[in-house]
Amino acid sequence: MASSPIIPASRSIFTAITRRATLFALGALALLFAVTGWQSWSAMERSLLATVDTDIAGLVDIYASGGEGELLARLEDRSSVVSLEGRQARYMLVRPDGTPLGGNVKAWPTLGAGLSESGFLTLADGTEVFARATRLSPDLDLLVARTYERDRAALVRMALLFGGTALLIVLATWLLGRRAAGHLRQRIGAISAAFRDAEAGREPAGADDLHDDEIGELATYSTRAIGRSANLARTHRHMSDHIAHEIRTPLTHLDGRLINAMRELPPECDPAVIEQCRRDIRGVVTMLDSLLDIASSEARVGDLAGLTEVDLSSLASDLAELYSGSAEEEGVTFRTFIEPGVTMMGEPMQLTRLISNLLDNALKYVPRGGQVTLSVAKGPVIAVQDDGPGVEPSLRPLVFDRFRAGQAPSGKTSHGLGLALARAIALRHGLRIALVDSKVGAHFMIKPHALWDAGPNPGETK
């Protein structure tokens, strides 16, 4: 496996899923606990109500058949009875004015006998009961109650058992989720690390996930894709190096022979032809390098390896200083508008070459007395504008193509690769170069894709 994941656990999607699953389990169990508790309490209440009502029905029959005396005797008998559920019977027989006649309850509670009210209540002696009051006759009220301590104790035991089990389930869910999340983070992290290594230009360790599941499949395809990409880059590089080597080496020999020929040339012979041959050799080499540089930059679009923070303002200022002499020599006014502190991620040498190619291009085409302006602003936005002959409308879409050299007024020739290389370097840095509309001359502007998308320029040609 590659290096451990960079995304901290606090930001991991798997941690979030685990957290949500745990909270869901906690909520679901709490709801289940509440519903079950309410159902159990209701069942107990219904059972107590049925017991009390059955008891009252029997006592009503006794009163109807035996009168008040018989009723009091039976109440006395039943007061000591404890049911199988552990419920104790409590009674009170009173006159409507509150005069007690019998029973094991000392004071009448707040239940209305006239309305035959029932409910849970606490008697004067502190005993908690479920009771119903009823009016047996206009001068006789009866209270029948049952204690329910054992019912309640059973419910509490059940609640504790349920709650404990629920907590264990939640804890187990969290622990298992956490472990699974950690495992998944490692597996996904290995795939990310392989991509990260490849992007940073390091040899990717490979996401060697052997699991036969979705992530294993993702790792397999990722490893293959990274491998193919790395192999392609390697092959491209080797091919470029070999092309350069196999062309430069014989040219070097040829150049050496020309040097020897010049050395042995009789004094009366003009060495101009040989010198021109040597210049041609250098021209071929320069063209080859430019083509390889273009290919290399295009192959590395989106590749962040090797990019560092570049002070674009400082870089442009140094170039401006270098080119100001050339401009003056050519009789061209060279102006700069460089905003301080403009930085970007890039390869300093490549960015230097990008601006330098644009300045070379401008100075080549602007006639004596003309003007060239270099500007750099935050964004970054780089522009090189001149008041030269500009680019013919029919050639504007082709201006960044390879081997598209215009006719410079000075008669200077080139391979027509400078702008193609500028475009390739811009793309490699996530920038887009365009020849934008201007009243006079040529106006090249470079800025990030997002800035172009935010405000497309009508003159954009690429």
Binding site: R248, D255, G256
Partner: protein, 225 residues
């Protein structure tokens, strides 16, 4: 000057060995990278000239292994890989200079001499004097025969570079690399123009030239006398 030259191409090796011999250098040639490494460890050389693409080993790896084994002789990489990115890779790997093929013989010699001077650790005092010229490094002022020459900051950097390499050929690539920190040739006359401006300032009011142009290679500061 005793040089170790590691190059797999016999023709190229013969050409360069002959050139260096004409310049009075003693050249030891090795064809394979491993043999070059072994030879560099056994003997003392003033400079090592290293090809980059060798059949048994990459030149960059050889440099790294040389440095790791404590061999501190300056290394000039002479390579058919001459793009700016190749040069940056070479310099990052620890080579002291990088020259692309095909090269001017004078440029190669200038670079070798510069490397040897640097390796000998010649340090310059606060005032460098050569012929009629004086360079006051700390004060950043230039004089010719006690007459102050007003230079811009970059012109002074150029002048100072010539004074530090007084009497030796300074190539365009050396100037681009060391004065302008550029590893590629802008393909325009920017170096020549800046040299021209410096030359005009150094020669104003004097009969003798201050800088001479070495065709196809670079420039040399004269004594001005």
């Amino acid at each position: 000057m005793k040089l170790l030259y590691v190059e797999d191409n016999a023709d190229a090796a013969a050409d360069l060995t002959a050139l260096l011999a004409r310049q009075g250098c003693q050249v030891v040639w090795e064809m394979r990278g491993a043999d070059g490494l072994r030879r560099a460890a056994l003997e003392q050389f003033d400079t090592i000239i290293l090809d980059r693409m060798l059949p048994d080993m990459d030149g960059l790896e050889i440099v790294q292994r040389l440095r790791a084994s404590g061999v501190d002789a300056p290394v000039l990489m002479l390579s058919a890989l001459g793009r700016a990115s190749n040069r940056v890779e070479g310099l990052d790997a620890g080579v002291d200079d990088y020259l692309a093929k095909p090269y001017e013989p004078e440029e190669l010699m200038a670079r070798l001499k510069a490397l040897v001077r640097r390796a000998e650790g010649r340090t310059h005092s606060a005032i460098i004097i050569y012929g009629q010229f004086e360079c006051h490094v700390k004060a950043r002022t230039a004089f010719r025969r006690n007459v102050h020459v007003a230079l811009s900051p970059k012109e002074f950097e150029l002048f100072r570079y010539f004074m530090e390499n007084a009497g030796e050929v300074v190539t365009r690539d050396m100037l681009l690399r060391d004065v302008w920190k550029m590893n590629f040739d802008p393909q325009t006359n920017v170096v020549d123009v800046n040299i021209g401006r410096l030359r005009r300032k150094l020669e104003a009011g004097f009969d003798k030239p201050a800088l001479e142009t070495i065709w196809g290679t670079g420039y040399r500061l004269t004594r001005g006398e």
